[in-house]
């Protein structure tokens, strides 16, 4: 139904932003060509299609590039109408988009801060991250997913936390995913990772830990 050949995705295997676009493509059953980028040696194609940010992911549909993973997912949802990712109701859509921007505006920075700080700065960063997770925990009260009974836009955008936050905890030696402190959030991470389209589309855990260990060491040494 969803034709291949006309959809290409430029990505990097360890990147959460890339993975969330793949989840969206898989939910819709869209065939696509995946092109792995070496970010230390970016291809001319990538630089041509995303001259402003020079980053992955980049989605190509019938030769036209789309940039920014959240924009991509909305695009995918609008072009392929089956298995909807965003709700139909305008008010519910505002909530879906709100939690998506919370992920990109707050959660990413919060996790990044814990990764790349040490000592007292790191302790403060952990407390800040706990506050962030608390907000998510409260929002999830009584819900299986942010999208309700099934995963939706917010789940796809926030989903990186279910896999990459435990990786961060291992790499940077801290613990925030406490099922006693944040029971709803902890359940959500479990439930999210069990969804077949997610479970079957995650990077290998060991390799990912190794990747971020190297990345962290490089950044801390700089």
């Amino acid at each position: 139904m969803a034709s291949g050949g006309e959809v290409k995705l430029f990505g990097m295997w360890a990147s959460p932003a890339v993975r969330r676009v793949e989840w969206a493509l898989k939910i819709k059953g869209i065939e696509y060509e995946y092109i792995e980028e070496d970010l230390s040696n970016k291809s001319t194609s990538l630089l041509e299609y995303n001259p402003i940010n020079k980053q992955v992911p980049v989605l190509l549909h019938k030769g036209k590039p789309i940039v920014e993973s959240l924009v991509m997912i909305e695009y995918i949802d609008e072009v392929w109408n089956h298995n909807p990712i965003l709700p139909e109701d305008p008010y519910e859509r505002t909530k879906a988009r709100f939690w998506a921007t919370y992920s990109e505006g707050k959660c990413r920075d919060a996790v990044g801060k814990v990764y790349f700080t040490e000592g007292e700065e790191k302790e403060n960063a952990i407390k800040y991250l706990e506050d962030i997770v608390r907000v998510l925990d409260e929002e999830l009260k009584g819900k299986r997913f942010f999208g309700g009974e099934n995963i939706g836009f917010s789940d796809l955008v926030l989903g990186w936390m279910a896999f990459w936050l435990p990786v961060a905890e291992e790499v940077a030696s801290f613990e925030v995913l406490d099922s006693e402190k944040f029971p709803w959030f902890a359940s959500w991470t479990d439930n999210f990772l069990q969804v077949p389209v997610i479970k079957e589309n995650l990077p290998p855990r060991d390799k990912t830990v190794e990747f971020f260990q190297n990345y962290r060491q490089q950044r801390l040494a700089a």
Partner: protein
């Protein structure tokens, strides 16, 4: 399909560009609303209740239900009042993606580069910050061509999503021009944008809600004094 109810409230402040975005959108759709002005420096109970996560304006309250984050509110307005006024986002998915990208660019990259000018501590840092802003304006000039397709606005014939995202800052930018002597929208450098600025500010949906430059200068000076006082008090 759902017609908007009559009860539309906007929590905001006259000087906030993010609030101006909402007022322009509501004006485009011809939607009446009650403007609840927040007192500067004090957050009302209603604001804290309606936006517990960020505690920030703007908040749109439609039939008692709060909507937060300016560009999310703009999309909501476009969807709820789809049959009224011009479309803020085109119906074409690729155009929508293009416009959404440029709105992200304005918020995540370009406006922060403008703020960096006032935060610069040295003349060198200031010059660098100014260079960044102009580099961004060059990109926005190209974006105008791509998005507007030869028409008067990023949105084409009428004000659209990117016009709102960028245009809301114009009062602030004009005030900064007056205070620093930097001319952001130079006919020689970015002719399309320079013309767009005048066209946008003259539009009936914008005129009444875009603060006058002198008033913004006064407000900016007040803010500067406040920050200086706070910094020296430490």
């Amino acid at each position: 399909m759902t017609q908007g109810g009559e009860d539309v409230k906007l929590l905001g402040a006259w000087a906030s560009p993010f609030v101006i975005r909402i007022r322009i959108a509501l004006n485009l759709k011809g939607v009446d609303y009650e403007f609840l002005e927040e007192v500067f420096g004090v957050k009302s109970e209603l604001l804290l209740e309606s936006n517990p996560v960020y505690k920030k304006i703007p908040v749109l309250i439609h039939d008692g239900k709060p909507v937060c984050e300016s560009m999310i509110i703009v999309q909501y307005i476009d969807e709820v009042w789809a049959t009224k006024g011009p479309a803020i986002l085109s119906a074409d998915p690729y155009d929508r993606a293009l416009h959404r990208f440029w709105a992200y660019y304005v918020d995540d990259k370009w406006f922060p580069s403008v703020s960096a000018i006032s935060r610069a501590q040295t003349e060198e840092a200031k010059a660098e910050a100014v260079e960044q802003v102009f580099a961004g304006l060059k990109l926005l000039e190209e974006a105008f061509q791509k998005c507007g397709k030869g028409k008067g606005f990023f949105g084409g014939d009428t004000i659209g999503y990117v016009d709102i995202a960028l245009g809301c800052f114009l009062a602030w930018l004009k005030a900064t021009e007056k205070m620093t002597g930097i001319k952001f929208f130079d006919e020689a450098k970015t002719p399309l944008l320079a013309q767009w600025v005048e066209r946008f500010c003259a539009d009936v949906a914008v005129r009444g809600v875009m603060p006058e430059t002198d008033k913004m200068v006064e407000f900016a000076k007040m803010l500067q004094t406040k920050f200086k006082a706070a910094a020296s008090a430490k």
